[in-house]
Symmetry: C2
Subunit: 227 residues, 2 copies
DNA sequence: TACATGAGGTAACACATGTTACCGAAATCA
DNA sequence: TGATTTCGGTAACATGTGTTACCTCATGTA
């Protein structure tokens, strides 16, 4: 393994607390492979056997759930140095429940399951990190489940905008996606999202101009989220 | 810890591969508490701090997601000797994303997080089991997500009946729940389920009489599931 | 300049499910 | 036995989202 790659891994949540030198040392005795994929390719699709942990060294990947007809719901966007599908690596059914699509050129390191076990046994930080990362994913997915079941598209949109405003520390925010990608993120059809955008603007909650959004009535939005 | 309790734990998926004697020995050096809860009580509710792994020694518990107005979606039914919320134990946000409701009188053992880490470090079986159990939950929840998003109530009902028929090895099956509980399981309102039951009967897919269901057109049902 | 293309708004209609209310049958209880 | 409760079917209507089709606008291109 190259020094660069060890640095990236050492900065990942999975190896937090472990120096890049130690990462290098650990990986001197475990097998791994490094691969690259071009932008917009399906790295792995649902049903593929997943028996090596893949960690992003570079680039972005989205995890998507699809139905037979090709409708897509984005579950999550993953950026280097995140791990892919960490939560399901050790499941009895060792096939991927999601499809992984590259959002940019990516570089990925694959580490066999058995080596993950060894790492977990030999290094307490790694063990803790693995536990934590898996559990965080679980929390995330359960929250998705709640949102999917109990919140309307309008609420999803509003809470998304609020969270961005929080992150960007401003009432005027820049959406990172176009309408079509946003619709996929919320798991709805584009015209449905479009309709709801018009509604929140009509209701005076915010103004929208392309990817630029300005929050006008934060309290109103918060009230909506509590319905 | 009593011999009985060690036997139960040793038979649980989390301690599979570990003898009940060894369980006794392990638990001689780690702290734990045992509690009982009456039927139909909320053992823990969403937002409660979850920092001890709870394992059912006796009885049944359901994990539910609720909204503000009290609408409920059952996520899962857990029976002794399953673990509760194992997937989120180590999350950075250490609060429960679900509510746990007892379905019978239950007895539960609680084991602090830190002891779980120790167990995982000292016993390879436990480590593997913990990984596997967490990952299985993840797979389960992602599958829930897919069903929730992409399948209609009719499809949920049909695939549920098919899976029961598979389990009970018969075309005539006995539903384990009444209509109201079933509706909660599918996360829909009772009249909606009722309507769909009538539809599948009208369409000749199955006949239903209370909790007794007979599959009449397996091929038709399978075709429906592929839509 | 004229044309093609893609993003995104909109309108009409379809469809699944929720909501509320009501009813009857079965089970339970006084 | 009669009264009460529970379960579950049904009907009417509301609501949210999907589907399709069309339009406009901006941008890129021959």
């Amino acid at each position: 393994m190259l020094k660069d790659e060890a640095n990236i891994l050492a900065a990942s949540p999975l190896f937090s607390g472990i120096s890049s030198d130690l990462v290098l040392e650990l990986f001197s005795s475990i097998p791994f492979t490094i691969k690259t994929y071009p932008k917009d390719s399906m790295m792995m699709i649902r049903g593929d056997v997943y028996d090596e942990l893949k960690v992003l060294l570079n680039g972005e990947v989205s995890a998507e759930i699809q139905d037979f007809t090709g409708k897509v719901m984005k579950v999550e966007n993953l950026k280097a140095p995140d791990s892919l599908a960490i939560g399901i690596l050790f499941a009895d059914d060792n096939t991927l429940p999601v499809t992984l699509v590259t959002q940019s050129d990516v570089k990925v390191i694959s580490i066999p399951k058995s080596s993950i076990v060894k790492l977990a046994q030999s290094n307490q930080f790694f063990l803790q990190n693995f536990f934590t990362q898996s559990a965080n994913k679980m929390t995330f997915v359960v929250e998705k489940l709640r949102l999917l079941k109990f919140s309307s598209l309008k609420q999803k949109l509003c809470s998304y905008v609020l969270s961005l405003s929080d992150k960007q520390q401003s009432e005027t925010i820049q959406l990172p996606y176009n309408r079509e990608q946003l619709a996929a993120l919320f798991g709805v059809a584009r015209p449905s999202l479009s309709r709801v955008c018009s509604e929140v603007v009509d209701q005076g909650f915010m103004s929208m101009d392309g990817k630029k959004v300005t929050i006008l009535d934060k309290e109103g939005i918060k009230a909506l989220l509590k319905e």
